[in-house]
Amino acid sequence: MMTDNGDITTASVIAPPRSEVGVIGWLRTNLFSTWYDTTMTVISLVVVVWLMWFGLTWAFGDAEWRVIGTLGGQFIIGQFNTESACPGQNCFWRPQVGLLLATIVLGMAWGVAGGGTAKKVALAVAVVAAVMSLIPYSFERMGMDVRILLVANIPAVFLGLAITRYTPWREVKHVAIVGVASFLLTLFLLRGVEGLPGMHPVSVIHWGGLMLNVLLAVAGIVLSLPIGIGLALGRRSQLPVVKLLCVAFIEIFRGVPLITLLFMSQVLVPLAFPENFPQNSLFRAAVVITLFSSAYMAENIRGGLQALHPGQAEAARALGLSGWQITFLISLPQAIRNVIPAIVGQFIALFKDTSLVYIIGMLDVVEIGRAFIQGNPEYLPSARELFIFLAIVFWIFTYGMSYVSRRVEDHLRVGTR
């Protein structure tokens, strides 16, 4: 309206200058715009190429990867299937059924989400599991049954998908119910039952490997979020006693190193439960890791709550909503959405921290490798390969979490502010 039409047509007809578009334009503006840009580009390029050359020639030439194959299945389940843990029986199928249950849940998540990231994650997990059956040398005592159960992860995903397609179980809450049930069933399977063939009880000190890290991380992630929300709300409470208790909890658990807490857990957690309450080192470690993470989670969520405009709660009050309704319908959904990066950062930290259970004598995936090298000095030169392998394993998991969180953020960003 302000400009006359002639100007608009002319402006839209003139093509942008060549330097602004295409590959050449991009390179010029981003890599070679000034002489120091050019210098930095060239130096970086040399460094990257040199590092890649060095890395690849080492990885495919000099590196001795045999240690990975030798440890094989121990990375995944630790000492679970050894003769001392499960004498005279093959107990490998029990963690494997746990994995199958997990892929069924992922398949359901895929069905509920209708594809997207959930689909990618579900398929990736199933395919990786299935491909493991093709590895020729790994997994001591790995028979045909083990391979079949691994391949079965692919139909398991589609079974989960089919459940959401052909039964009424197709909502988020159903995935949550099946997920929790699967987790508990997995714990039961791993624990075993006295006197049942194939279900020889396996003490938790023999649970290990990646399985241990994942079990602790899943329990910690699922429980620390609601506990953290409760603590954050408690810390903002008008009731002085509730507030004091929450502040004390948060500051104590945040102020003590996790290693110290893990040591203390062996002595202190038993005091918090009835004498005949069934507990073990794994349970105690899970409690401590969860509470430790909850304290950080509480502060993340409190940060999100502080950032909310006071007008939000005011508008809700003016509409006649009650305090609880305002918290759960207005404040928390916005607060949590605003701090998803911090929450996922805490999840990632928690996953990595599960390695610290080595301090109370549990053999997580890192400790399995370290203890093996220590016990077999002839493998000492392979420590480099071993730890690089472990770093990659952790990175795959943490990158997966960060990828999912970014997609969730993108999804929730629809029309914000």
């Binding site: 006649g320 909503l321 029309g415």
Partner: protein, 252 residues
């Protein structure tokens, strides 16, 4: 011109008697007394910091008054939570900064209180919400999020959201002050239509055109007291107080 004939039924909707409010040691309201009858449209104006926003916020207890009585539709505002909730569900409020819930769609914003406070079934709430969106002229925005709307559209959604609770009184706290000039009219038009429907309204605003054409009464606030009140005709053409004259000369 519209609601004047309805004021004949002089039913008292809001009675304020000697209302005092302190923020810490700051005396924000220094004994405000006035009565607003059913169907009346009252414009509250005055310099910033004069207590006009605080005054309308005491009516639905967003601010607590420490002395005096406020009686809304026969219910006295006290510390009784049930009274406060009863009054809040009868008094709708529209804010300067809209305060829509950004994580809910326009439709969900409007349906939230009817569903959760009034416990209406979903289809009834949706029906009412859609008819209100049509009333404020933006039914096509129902499934969008507030962040995707212009300021004027957001404020009209806020009006629809307040109306969804079927209030007897509507409070407007500077509803057009945060809007770009070209969007003020669409919001004022919605308010005008509401006034014509017989709604009891208290509007804090500097829109003197709206005050002149729509309101039945104007109240001038300064330093926590009512300086002057009267019909728009009297206030504009024959203000009695020096402060009123001075303020009007500054804003018109």
């Amino acid at each position: 011109m519209t609601a004047s004939d309805e004021t004949a039924t002089t039913e008292e909707m809001i009675v304020c008697r000697d209302v005092h409010k302190w923020f810490g040691s700051f005396h924000a309201l220094k004994g405000v007394s006035t009565t607003i009858t059913r169907g009346e449209v009252v414009v509250v104006f005055g310099p910033s910091g004069s207590g006009k926003s605080t005054f309308i916020r005491t009516i639905n207890r967003l601010e607590e008054h420490q002395r005096g009585d406020i009686i809304v539709d026969g219910i006295e505002l006290s510390n009784d939570v049930r009274n406060i909730e009863a009054i809040r569900s009868e008094v709708g409020m529209v804010f300067q900064s809209f305060n829509l819930f950004p994580h809910l769609t326009v439709l969900d914003n409007i349906m939230l209180a009817p569903l959760k406070v009034r416990k209406w079934p979903k289809d009834q709430a949706e029906e009412v919400a859609m008819s209100l969106l049509e009333r404020v002229g933006i039914p096509e925005q129902a499934v969008k999020f507030p962040g995707e709307l212009s300021g004027g559209q957001q404020q009209r959604v806020a009006i629809a959201r307040a109306l969804a609770m079927q209030p007897k009184i509507m409070l407007f706290d500077e509803p057009t002050s945060a809007l770009d000039p070209e969007m003020i009219k669409e919001v004022l038009d919605a308010m005008r239509e509401l006034a014509e429907s017989g709604m009891t309204m208290i509007v804090v605003t500097h829109e003197m055109g709206f005050a002149r054409e729509v309101s039945n009464r104007m109240i001038m606030f300064d330093e926590g007291v009512i300086v002057e009140e009267g019909t728009p005709h009297d206030i504009f053409n024959n203000p009695q107080q020096e402060r009123t004259k001075l303020f009007l000369s500054q804003i018109i």
